[in-house]
């Protein structure tokens, strides 16, 4: 553990660096973010007028905060590794795709495949998420305060998906070891996904996720847990209809 550098800590109170995408090209923003090195003083960034731009703040690998003032297009915060991104608007398809660590908060809604293939970090959608939320998730934690669409958590491998609202059709189809917590109704479960008992360790895990996502006034006990029945792990001729 390195000693805390007091002067560096004070530097962090500097005003945030502002990028106005109506005046600057997106590549300049992303290049500036990629140029950051460990210990940089530029820890607070603000992006103005994103107007649905694709790939805003992808591939950031430093522990900085980025406030995006408006709605974004495809792949915002993709591959994020350690930064804290807040989208003050809605996000297009693939927000936080393949996130490694850090956090992304979307104040509005998210389109298809939010958090797809994510390996770590926390993705919070304060509105609704669309279809295929958490598809193939590999360790990411996703908390959706509204509803999620169909085919969410398809082939989800690990991590946690928490939904305060309802889930669409075929939730958790062909799921591996991810845990799914849904407070509302589930339209239908996908192949090999089943309701599971909520044991004390799950209540504790879920409460921790709700706390990290800043969700208040909701109890872990209000959710149901879903996960893999583990009958599709290996080929079994008796399961041929389910494949």
């Amino acid at each position: 553990m390195p000693a805390i550098n007091v002067s560096k800590a004070l530097d962090q109170s500097h005003a945030s660096r502002v990028f106005d995408l109506s005046e600057m090209p997106l590549r300049e923003l992303n290049q500036a973010l990629h140029n950051l090195t460990p210990g940089s003083n530029e820890t607070a960034w603000e992006v103005l007028h994103p107007k649905g731009s694709h790939s805003v703040a992808v591939g950031v690998d430093q522990p900085i905060t980025i406030d995006v003032r408006g709605s974004v297009g495809y792949y915002c915060g993709g591959m994020n590794d350690g930064s804290s991104i807040t989208v003050h608007g809605s996000a297009g398809p693939g927000v936080g795709e393949n996130m490694m660590s850090g956090s992304i908060t979307v104040k509005g809604d998210a389109s298809q495949y939010a958090g797809a293939t994510g390996k770590g970090g926390l993705l919070v959608i304060e509105g609704n998420a669309s279809s295929r939320c958490g598809i193939s998730m590999k360790g990411i934690d996703i908390v959706v305060q509204g509803n999620i669409g169909h085919m969410s958590a398809f082939m989800a491998q690990s991590g946690n998906l928490v939904v305060l609202g309802d889930a669409g059709d075929a939730l958790g189809d062909s799921i591996y070891e991810a845990r799914l917590f849904v407070r509302g109704k589930v339209e239908s479960l996908g192949a090999d996904c089943i309701a599971k008992e909520m044991r004390p360790e799950h209540l504790e895990l879920l409460q921790g996720l709700l706390d990290r996502a800043g969700v208040t006034g909701v109890k872990a006990a209000e959710f149901k847990r879903y996960g893999s029945a583990r009958t599709l792990y290996n080929f079994n001729i008796d399961n041929a209809d389910a494949y």
Partner: protein, 298 residues
């Protein structure tokens, strides 16, 4: 890919800006499809004329003198407004079918883009900006319109393969996706007497809707039918004389976002297409649900 847009005005004061608003929406999606682009604009009905939008690869040869020859052939007054490779033929509504047949006889190389009381359709190979400039779409007024920029998958990159496709009076459709049962549906529609100009899958979807509406269904019911009768990927945006509809297939891979205010209903493949619309920051913006029909009528 492909990019599609649609705009249905509720506020009459915006009608003079329809062409410029729709053009800007389509141009913003240029990188979703570089092959060809097209726009259909529904103008205000005049009550005493009908329009046929025609296209020719040799407009100077084909459009010269056509008004007089056509007027003589159908025995009614005809006017022609030429815009680059396209022209809008105007005549009395009762003569519209006769005029259509006469055009094909008088000028066999002319392609009919669409016909009706209010619709005009412009489409060509090239980027949206080039197509919009070529036909001066920005200056057009109207009540609603749809547009498309194409990344071709199912048929050749030609003017006739561009969207919108029109297969019935004042009806047209743009499509993002690809249909897998279009050959079969085309065969069934041909048996019913529908005519096709291309091998394109989207033309089949347009003809399917025209056929359903010809059987008495309204736009909403016709769109509902696509969910069971068409197989493949689709987000459709459809215009009729006084209506505007949207439907996505049940898998809904193809992106879609909508916005509604007191002034308009707008559709875009992406939010980028909507960002310059008036009052967008306070609009209700949502992603249309899979397998759900949305439609509005004036």
């Amino acid at each position: 890919m492909c990019g599609i847009v649609g705009l249905f005005l509720k506020d009459k004061s915006l009608e003079p800006q329809l062409g410029s608003m729709l053009s800007q929406m389509l141009i913003s999606l240029s990188d979703r499809g570089p092959d060809s682009a097209g726009i259909a604009i529904y103008g205000a009905p005049t009550g005493n004329e009908a329009k046929i939008t025609i296209q020719s690869a040799k407009p100077e040869r084909d459009f010269r003198g056509l008004d007089a020859e056509l007027a003589k052939a159908i025995g009614a007054p005809v006017s022609i407004a030429v815009k680059s490779t396209h022209a809008v033929v105007r005549t009395t509504p009762v003569k519209i079918d006769e005029a259509r047949e006469a055009i094909q006889t008088l000028r066999p190389d002319i392609r009919i883009m669409g016909a009706g009381d209010v619709v005009e359709i412009y489409k060509e190979v090239g980027l949206p900006e080039a197509v919009v400039d070529r036909f001066d779409v920005r200056s057009m007024t109207g009540t609603h319109g749809i547009g498309h920029t194409r990344m071709a998958t199912e048929s050749a990159v030609t003017t006739m393969g561009a969207h919108p496709f029109s297969t019935g009076a004042d009806q047209c459709l743009v499509h993002n996706g690809s249909l897998s049962n279009h050959n079969n549906v085309r065969r069934e529609l041909i048996r019913e007497g529908m005519k096709f100009e291309t091998e394109n899958d989207t033309e089949v979807a347009a003809a399917y809707l025209s056929s359903q509406m010809a059987h008495g269904k309204n736009l909403g019911e016709a769109l509902e039918g696509t969910l069971s009768d068409l197989d493949g990927f689709f987000t459709f945006v459809v215009g009729t004389k006084n209506g505007f509809g949207v439907v996505r297939d049940p898998i809904a891979c193809k992106p879609a976002v909508m916005a509604e205010t007191d002034q308009y209903v707008a559709f875009g493949s992406e939010y980028r297409a909507l960002t310059k619309l008036p009052g967008i920051d306070n609009a209700r913006v949502w992603e249309p649900e899979p397998a759900t029909v949305y439609f509005w009528e004036h």
